[in-house]
């Protein structure tokens, strides 16, 4: 994969928490196909359901596969729903100044790649978009994002792309190592209020 065509939607602002990204009252819906509608729900829709003009609903950004965000994006609750909703909306790449730790893990598990740019970098990208320049190409190996004469180097924060190995597989590969490690730990011996632990993969 040498080059990806990228179209970016701006979701600017710092410290955007996962309650804003995915309001709690939608947490109990387990049907992923509804999640794109819940994404930033209360910022996109008024109480009567009318659109408020959020960038996610702007026809200019329809079909975006990437988002540009500010500092500490995804802070707060561990709800994976926030990352899932971005994915169901079509977002595969997030570029931001910084990300919250748990949100990053969740993105990795959902197959969203996160990249860092400094404040000036994110502002420059936002500026390009505001000028109507929104057909970027991105080279994942060099982390280079370019459009026209504009080019910026991004820092890869974490793996999590479609080709990354599945953690379920990686973690269950070595069951012997797991049991060996477990039984070395002192509390595994004295915490025996329940039946003896048996590994049953």
């Amino acid at each position: 994969m040498s080059e990806i065509a990228v179209q970016i939607v701006p979701i600017l602002g710092d410290d955007i928490d996962t309650d804003r990204i995915y309001p709690a009252r939608f947490l109990l819906d387990t049907d992923y196909s509804h999640y794109a509608d819940y994404l930033f729900h209360d910022e996109r829709f008024g109480q009567d359901g009318a659109k408020k003009g959020h960038s996610l609903d702007d026809p200019k950004f329809a079909g975006a596969n990437a988002a540009i965000v500010g500092k500490n994006f995804g802070c707060g609750s561990s709800r994976e729903h926030a990352a899932q909703a971005l994915k169901r909306f079509g977002i595969r790449i997030i570029i931001g100044e910084s990300f919250a730790d748990i949100f990053l893990s969740n993105c990795a598990q959902c197959g969203i790649e996160c990249f860092r740019a400094d404040h000036k970098g994110t502002m420059d990208i936002a500026h390009q978009i505001s000028q109507g320049e929104n057909a970027f190409s991105f080279t994942p190996n060099e982390c280079n994002l370019l459009t026209g004469s504009f080019s910026i180097k991004l820092e890869r924060v974490q793996a999590g792309h479609a080709n990354a190995p599945d953690d379920f597989e990686l973690l269950s590969k070595n069951t012997e190592d797991i049991t060996r490690t477990a039984w070395k730990i002192a509390y595994m011996k004295f915490w025996i209020c329940r039946p003896k632990d048996i590994f049953i993969i």
């Binding site: 969740n106 039946p195 993969i201």
Partner: protein
């Protein structure tokens, strides 16, 4: 090289290190609840995997549970389906569930410690960001997402990058009327809501050593509000005496052996840290948040800050906060009218929190136009408080005395704000919409301060009521 508790516990639980810098960590205790585990069980089913160590996972129902009417099926169909789905998953997989009828149920971060499941030196994971609470015992508590809940169910392991390490030192001694909540809010204000991102926090200092376990839990609970997934306190005799005798604690015969292990995982003097923050506890006054994140707080005697005096990135956040909160810079928070009061949540719903609040309201009545509820952290906390007669103090004052659960911390049950009500809350997040109304306004504070606000109907300095 001198090692910190984090270094030691991390090393002890390392199964394997991967080239991408991540570690496969064994998880000693896994706690699950009805909101973030349903889809995880589904992932195991899809993959044909079984729960690897069912004896190391414990479940409870806390987020959706109504605090008034518990009759089944629950009125909210989605809530009923979340509860019954967890019940079924636990039954099918041999997982112990402290369910809706259990006298031991409660908020997951209250019952783990209360039952003696939470112990020093453990790695603890839960699909909830406030898992950092368990660090109060000198364990590493990881808040995780649903896919990672699936990983722990299937392998009892997590894939984690070792964090950098920050030390937060609370020197000096708190004044009367000041609580653990005020200290942690001060720290978050000082370092910011991303001040500890990518880091763990080790809490130490004179005041932390003096703290009870419940106070340490309040501090560690809000580590995530400063960006740290993990926050911990080195275990000591206060920790051991709390754990001793609890249902799942090591039995008396094994307890000395356990203490030997627990002592061995304490941070060594001189262990290196990447960052340090210091707070002089004696200078802290009761704190109240005024904005839309837990870093936006002020001391009760201070004026609301002017955005133009802030750095650029803080200024933008402050403007958004003033807009949502309908407040103005330069005014005092003292005197702001409060419509609702919520005493509860995994931050401040333990017995000592209820005792502190009851001291303020004893013999008084809550203000007209204010409604107030107390939601104990667990059914055991509730029973204990009732033995002490606390429920009478609360109900005589006009509070509602409810059953346990997460309740109005996140409004996933029937307890929600409506419209743009202002709520004095002992919970942990003042995010927009957090308490169930998109326009709702949350002011975070200690239980004593929330109790004082209920009595006067407005934000006030609890020290004037002592």
């Amino acid at each position: 090289m001198h090692k910190s508790l984090l270094d030691k516990v991390w090393e002890l639980h390392t199964v394997r290190e991967f080239e991408d810098g991540r570690t496969q960590l064994f998880i000693g205790l896994h706690l699950i609840h009805e909101v973030t585990s349903q889809q995880a069980f589904g992932m195991l089913k899809t993959r044909g995997m079984k729960v690897a160590f069912p004896q190391r996972t414990f479940g409870t129902i806390d987020h959706i549970v109504p605090t008034k009417n518990l009759s089944r099926p629950l009125a909210d169909g989605m809530a009923e389906s979340a509860a019954s789905s967890l019940e079924q998953s636990c039954r099918e997989n041999g997982i112990k569930l402290f369910g809706m009828e259990s006298a031991q149920r409660g908020i997951v971060h209250v019952i783990g410690p209360e039952l003696g499941l939470t112990q020093p030196g453990m790695t603890i994971a839960c699909g909830d960001s406030h898992t950092s609470t368990h660090g109060a015992f000198g364990s590493l508590g990881f808040g995780i997402g649903t896919t990672q809940v699936g990983h722990v169910l299937a392998t009892q392991c997590l894939m984690m990058k070792k964090p950098n390490q920050m030390r937060a030192i609370f020197n000096g001694k708190m004044q009367s009327g000041v609580h653990a909540k005020d200290l942690i809010l001060s720290l978050i204000r000082k370092i910011g809501v991303s001040g500890a991102a990518g880091h763990s926090i080790e809490y130490s200092g004179e005041q932390v050593e003096k703290f009870s376990m419940e106070q340490r839990m309040t501090i560690c609970n809000m580590s995530i509000e400063a960006g740290a997934r993990i926050g911990y306190v080195n275990p000591d005799s206060t920790t051991y005496e709390y754990v001793r005798g609890r249902e799942f604690a090591p039995s008396e015969g094994k307890f000395e052996e356990a203490i030997e292990f627990w002592d061995s995982i304490r941070s060594e003097p001189g262990a290196a840290h990447d960052k340090t923050a210091e707070i002089n506890s004696s200078k802290i006054e009761p704190m109240v948040t005024w904005g839309i994140n837990p870093g936006q707080s002020i001391g009760i005697s201070e004026e609301l800050p002017y955005p133009e005096h802030m750095e650029e990135n803080e200024r933008r956040g402050a403007q958004k906060a003033y807009e949502h909160m309908k407040l103005a810079p330069g005014k005092k928070i003292n005197g702001l009218k409060v419509g609702r009061v919520f005493i509860g949540s995994c931050t401040n719903s333990r017995l000592s929190d209820l005792v502190e609040a009851s001291k303020i309201i004893e013999g008084k009545k809550i203000a007209k136009n204010t409604s107030a509820i107390v939601v104990p952290g667990s059914q055991q906390v509730k029973a204990h408080a009732e033995q002490m007669g606390l429920h009478k103090i609360f109900t005589n004052a006009g509070f509602e005395w409810r059953n346990s659960g997460c309740s109005m911390c996140l409004g996933l049950n029937p307890d929600k704000l409506s419209g743009d009500e202002i709520c004095a809350s002992t919970s942990n997040r003042n995010f927009i919409g957090r308490q169930g109304s998109p326009l709702g306004r949350t002011l975070l504070m200690s239980p004593a301060m929330a109790a004082a606000a209920a009595i006067s109907g407005e934000v006030c300095d609890v020290r004037d009521m002592l």
